[in-house]
Amino acid sequence: MSAEGQAVVFEEVSKFYGEVLGVNRVTLNIPPGITSLVGPNGSGKTTLMNLMTGLIHPDHGRILVRGLSPRDPEALMRITGYATQYDTAPRWATGFTFLTTSLLLFGYERREAEEKAWKALERLGLTEAANRKVAAYSKGMRQRVRLAQAIAHDPDVLVLDEPLNGLDPLVRAETIDLFRAWAAQGKHVILSSHVLQEVDVISDQVVLIANGSIVAEGAIRDVREEIDEHPSQYLVRCRHASEVASLLFAEAHVTEIKLNEDGMGMLVMTRDRQQFARSLARIALDGHRIDGVVPADENVDALYEYLIGGE
């Protein structure tokens, strides 16, 4: 099995909804392990997931999931489980029948299908509610029953759209353990989130998406480095702002300076945080009074906002 054969591959994939852009020229190579698609609402995460499971078809480009085309659900869905964000279930379905009917379609005998359904429900802590109508479940339970349905047939590629949304902390920790166990078997766990911190820790790789395009991609360490290379923002408070600004602007790593209107401060953008710290120290030593330096994007969210939103 080639490396590409084991990966989820997007090649120059574009998808439009009428005139509206869904995703634009996405090229991705997702190896097994936990991969998080991160981006704000409407950035194209769901579109990417629907594309790789064949719910929608790309207008351009090619997608292969472990060597299979999403146009061939008969083969693809055998190894894929997808828990969508669509919060619906057939009216007739109880948690248990919902899972068993789907497993019957995978070709399992009834007894085996019921066993697997029960195992999946057990794993998600839904055994008590198994014989109640899904329509009567709470939002979190419906989230879990969809997750249970996605894992019931033991797929190699698990696609989960906002799986942690609406889960209470305890269940969330259990669910994350489940993802880890899955990934440890060399399988794909592809999940989406609009909160970077939420998946930062658990992901082997992160794909940042904004406006239908990939902003950053790779192992979480690589993404962090990539973030380091991107300009950082600092808020500098000082007496003679324009003088300090002209000194700073002479430095090669500084890309942009915005002076505050009161002349008492400025917003500095730099490509190199360490160089910037050294420069600022030098300026202070030269006798310019610096009242304070505050990183404007220290928290992860701000950084991420900056990455995907700052042009």
Partner: protein, 515 residues
């Protein structure tokens, strides 16, 4: 990529699994409960018809049954007593009397005679016409006005000077009423429409008068509708003071009474109605309470014009059009797309579910209607029907209903995948199916109805007074042979399903707000 621990279901098994799951949805879909109403309507109609006949038969039989042979023995012209004596008391007797006002005959046509007793002295006699005709025409027509003495045979008015209201024409003056003749046609009368209408004769001297004779329009050969309806006669000795001596309404009206009587006899199967007019049989009909043959012809009509054209048509629309679009709006369609099954398998499964439901509903509806048709009939007639191939009829009716579901189902499944709103395609298809009869032969073959009509065992009855255009529309096209019809229908179905499969392969989940 196939791992040995994963089972590989056959596509047929997947299709059946999908169909089983979908069946529940199709049978119990709240939005398609009306389909059951359509399917059961003929059964309800025939059941009601049969029940009504049964109850009627029970009621009639309570009064005693007549001897069958005697029912046919009654002839027109027989009297009420003769019939009752021979057949006994009827199961039901109804009578009514109708009366109407008719004109009393005048006797000698158009002539009225008015005797004055005792005789009066008169020099001037005057005829005042207050209502000049029966027809309502305001025109007085008097051919002759004669005056006689107590013994006299001589017409005292003959040739005397006459005056009156202005005549219709100079040739129709008052002198024509005293000229002693009525035979000269319209030129031989006094005519006037100048109100007040009167005719006055001067007898020359005062003399006793005892009798007047007035000859009206019909005496001169005109219609009796033009006869004078109301008038009076006055006399005077001086031409100034007149006394009324006679008031006549001409020919009066009388009541004419006619007695109608209906006797109904029942021999357990046939019902005889005898209508008596004034005590004599005027009309007779002996018919079975339930006419199996007639009912079967009605069934054929209802089956073709209502059941196949409308009930199965709209029923399949309701059951098949929403198989995909209904799940799209419920946001549950993606579950089907996420199972390891080809889209064609999903299509086949859903079609099978719709087809099973539609066949059960409409095949069952047809069977129930046939049962309701046969149930109340005479056992002998039923036996004869079975012997004459009745079961074959039942088979072909049911087959036509089921094949209707096969054809219309595939068409509406395909239509539902391309168009969401059912109204426009339904109207277009209905028009197409309806108009197929007047299309060229090649185009007829693209209509489901064309094949279904070829399968119906009994041609639908078309009354003779149906206008030609409608006859063309409803008359079945040149029928195909049965195997040909089934083959053609299946080919049409396969084509519709192929179109549907193309759409399903391309289908994408779009629930509106994507993120």
């Amino acid at each position: 990529m196939v791992r040995p621990d994963r089972p590989f279901p056959t596509r047929a098994r997947q299709t059946w699994t999908i169909a089983r799951i979908e069946l529940r949805r199709v049978f119990f879909a709240r939005h398609s409960f009306w389909v059951y109403g359509l399917a059961l309507l003929p059964a309800v109609i025939f059941f009601g018809h049969g029940l009504e006949a049964k109850i009627r038969g029970e009621r009639l039989a309570q009064r005693g049954l007549a001897v069958p042979a005697l029912l046919d023995s009654v002839r027109e012209g027989e009297t009420l007593d003769e019939v009752k004596e021979r057949l006994g008391a009827p199961a039901r007797e109804r009578w009514s009397v109708r009366s109407r006002r008719v004109r009393r005959a005048t006797g000698s046509a158009g002539t009225t005679t008015h005797a004055i007793d005792p005789a009066v002295e008169a020099r001037f006699v005057r005829l005042n016409i207050t209502n000049p005709s029966y027809s309502g025409e305001p025109r007085a027509r008097i051919y002759e006005f004669e005056v006689y003495g107590p013994q006299g045979r001589e017409n005292l008015a003959f040739g005397r000077p006459a005056t009156g209201s202005i005549p219709c024409s100079p040739a129709e003056g008052p002198e024509k009423a005293v000229n002693g003749s009525v035979a000269g046609g319209e030129q031989d009368r006094w005519c006037s429409y100048d109100w007040p209408l009167y005719l006055q004769v001067d007898l020359g001297t005062t003399r006793p008068v005892a009798r007047f004779v007035v000859k009206h329009a019909s005496a001169g050969g005109e219609s009796d509708e033009s006869d004078t309806r109301e008038f009076n006669i006055q006399v005077s000795t001086d031409g100034k003071v007149f006394t009324t001596v006679e008031t006549s309404s001409g020919a009066a009206f009388v009541e004419e009474r006619t007695e109608y009587r209906e006797l109904i006899y029942f021999d357990g199967r046939r019902q005889a109605r005898y209508l008596f007019v004034d005590g004599r049989v005027d009309n007779r009909s002996v018919r079975p309470l339930l006419d199996f043959e007639e009912d079967r012809a009605i069934f054929a009509g209802i089956f073709q014009f209502f059941y196949l054209r409308l009930a199965v048509f709209f029923g399949c629309l309701g059951l098949f059009m929403y198989l995909f679009s209904g799940e799209m709006s419920n946001r549950t369609l993606h579950y089907w797309f996420l199972v390891p099954a080809r889209r064609e398998v999903l299509l086949a499964g859903k079609y099978a579910a719709g087809l099973i439901a539609a066949s059960v509903i409409f095949g069952g509806g047809a069977l129930l209607a046939l049962a309701a048709l046969v149930w109340p009939q005479d056992p002998v007639a039923i036996q004869a029907y079975w012997n004459a191939g009745g079961l074959r009829h039942v088979f072909w009716y049911t087959t036509a209903a089921v094949l209707g579901c096969v054809g219309y189902g595939s068409v509406f499944l395909a239509v539902g995948l391309y168009i969401r709103n059912p109204i426009v395609p339904a109207a277009v298809l209905l028009a197409w199916e309806g108009a197929a009869g007047i299309l060229p032969h090649v185009l007829q073959k693209a209509s489901i109805l064309y094949y279904l009509q070829s399968l119906c065992p009994v041609p639908a009855p078309i009354e003779d007074d149906v206008p030609t255009l409608i006859r063309l529309l409803i008359a079945p096209a040149a029928p195909a042979s049965r195997p040909g019809a089934i083959l053609g229908l299946l080919l049409l179905t396969a084509f519709a399903l192929w179109i549907a499969a193309k759409a399903v392969r391309r289908m994408q989940i779009s629930y509106g707000s994507e993120s």
